[in-house]
Amino acid sequence: MTVGGGDPHDDVGAYTLHALPPDEEAAFENHLASCAACREEAAGLAATAAMLGAAEHRTPSPEVRRRVLAQIGTVRQERHGERGGEDAGEAVRAARRARRGKRVLGFALAASVAAAAAFGGIAWWQHSEADTAREQVHEANAGAEALAGVLAAPDATISTARLADGATAGVVTSRAKGEAAFIASGLPRLSGAKVYELWYEEGGAYRAAGLLPGAGGELAHVLEGPLDGATAVGITVEPAGGSRQPTTTPLGVIALPA
């Protein structure tokens, strides 16, 4: 995670300043999962950085206030236990704290378990730690629930596809919960400042549904925003920070059951 050697812990400064490219940021977050001292340092430095940000006040036009207050009437709030991928990471971190010494990467583990649940028996899920991993995630109670909640919903259905780049992807959909989870294995690492972006497709229009790190690999992510009447989930490659509408041809569009 560090270019040209050096202390990987030095990344905490650049991380706090949002100055790591997406792949290194994802790698450092994985490191944070296993480094309590780093999490503590990151939290302290973030408070200091925020002080730099609080220095200037500028009042936005009244129109911005009006738009925001109008918009919140239509935006569904997240509730505890309904969260996305990063919380799956947090849950696994909690599980890891509970079980000392297991050398597995938090997010990759959650993704593997989710992928196992989605693809059941597919050959790539041959990890020797599978059972331990399942148990760990089962024990964790906070954010993995978001993922597990979708996976375990009584009406959950699974749609899988092979993406243009050869990766395997699946979408677990629960109409009852109004949520979907995207799971992929073998996503290639993207070069430069690029990320994967997920989309809900409804009536030919795309709605942004969250970003995935360009580091690729095995990923699991609860899609952001309501499922509503979406008929498909797409994935594209976008510049860091994501786009409002897809700017590249989707790697895949996975149709959802009605």
């Binding site: 560090t2 270019v3 040209g4 050697g5 050096g6 202390d7 812990h9 030095d10 990344d11 905490v12 400064g13 650049a14 706090t16 300043l17 949002h18 100055a19 790591l20 490219p21 939290a43 302290g44 430095l45 973030a46 408070a47 200091t48 950085a49 925020a50 002080m51 730099l52 940000g53 609080a54 220095a55 200037e56 006040h57 500028r58 009042t59 936005p60 036009s61 911005v64 206030r65 738009r67 925001v68 207050l69 918009q71 919140i72 009437g73 935006v75 569904r76 709030q77 997240e78 509730r79 505890h80 969260r83 400042a193 510049p239 860091a240 920070g241 994501g242 786009s243």
Partner: protein
């Protein structure tokens, strides 16, 4: 407007100190907003939209873009308010961290890395700090942060300023300063630590 940030010398303590009444009030408003209270959220907006907009404008240097980012950030605050944990830090810090992330993502998507390096300009590396320092709010706690920033050596200050206010990645900072990337990372960490120590010592 009582913006909850207070104006007195001891109004906003650095991390680690007791929260002030103003800070606690915003924390409480945000907690209520997390439960769906739109009126409480309006209070959060009125208190925190000005610093969010100030930061977005500092990074983006464009009024319309800064307003768009402010709108996105404040809606995100509403949507994800349930993630706010008062025991981990003040609402204002949480919101400004979100705002910085968004502003930096936006500036990277609209201004290429090369252009961001160029706009700081090799002969003009001190300008971002000077302009921020000029316009900084006349509040004691902000003056203290900038006094501390000014006290850092230029070597430690520039990487912080270029990354935080210009949205450069560490690699772009390294390029701008013709310094190895690993050295820049290490200076970013040391710079933030020194800044924190200085602010906490209250000197």
């Amino acid at each position: 407007m009582d913006d909850g940030a207070g104006t007195g010398a001891d109004s906003e303590g650095p991390p680690g100190r007791e929260r002030t009444a103003g800070e606690s009030r915003v924390d409480e408003l945000l907690t209520r907003a997390a439960g769906g209270d739109e009126q409480a959220f309006a209070g959060v907006y009125d208190t925190l939209a000005p610093p969010v907009m100030g930061l977005a404008f500092r990074v983006l240097r464009d009024e319309a873009q800064a307003e768009e980012v402010t709108q996105e950030v404040m809606v995100e605050v509403w949507r994800t308010a349930d993630r706010f944990r008062p025991e981990r830090g003040a609402a204002r810090n949480w919101v400004l961290t979100l705002a910085h992330r968004r502003a930096v993502d936006r500036v990277r998507s609209v201004v290429s890395g090369r252009a961001r390096e160029l706009r700081t300009g090799a002969r003009d590396l001190d300008r971002p700090f000077d302009t921020v320092a000029e316009e900084v709010e006349e509040r004691e706690e902000h003056r203290r942060v900038f006094r501390c920033l000014a006290e850092l050596s230029r070597q430690l200050r520039l990487p912080l300023v270029l990354a935080y206010y210009e949205g450069l990645t560490y690699a772009e900072v390294a390029d701008s300063l013709a310094t190895p990337a690993g050295t820049i990372k290490s200076r970013m960490r040391r710079g933030l630590r020194r800044l924190r120590e200085c602010v906490e010592s209250g000197s």
